[in-house]
Symmetry: C2
Subunit: 95 residues, 2 copies
């Protein structure tokens, strides 16, 4: 894990962007293992911009990334976030 104890300002900054919020919502809503491959995430921006946003989310400790061959999978660090900032993620996903 890159960030073990993200602070609230970092997390709020990372969440306060419409594209990143959309990524978080898609990750929160996905079935199965709770992860999506980068290709499955649908956002109205270029691949390189999406990549930048994914990096920002991971850097803030909101998501974790896993590589499998040439594919990258992303999941929400929900347990960590819920423990550190109870209620925040739910509030943001609903908002």
């Amino acid at each position: 894990m890159v960030v073990s104890s993200p602070d609230i300002v970092t997390v709020l900054q990372a969440l306060s962007d419409p594209v990143r919020l959309e990524i978080v919502r898609q990750l929160a809503g996905c079935d199965g293992a709770g992860e999506l491959s980068c290709g499955q995430i649908e956002v109205p921006v270029t691949k390189s911009t999406a990549s930048h946003h994914l990096k920002a989310l991971a850097g803030a400790g909101i998501t974790a990334e896993r590589e499998e061959g040439t594919r990258k999978f992303v999941r929400l660090r929900r347990t960590d976030l819920d423990e550190r900032f109870p209620g925040l993620l739910d509030a943001v996903i609903r908002g």
Copy 2:
């Protein structure tokens, strides 16, 4: 009221600053009528910077301001925020 229905991105952007978060916490923790005069808010920035932050919070619909003579009073728009984004303010104040 300046903003009747603030959107979540605007609210998150306004909250994602350490000084603004501190102002929100002081307002959340204050007794009585739930409002503080601008002079009662203690933040480690100049008066003009504090003023800028207060304006950002009001603009995002997080606070409401009231003038009484030459003094300005600020309060959290807690009911509005709790209704629009349940749990968000509590999560951020605790965080």
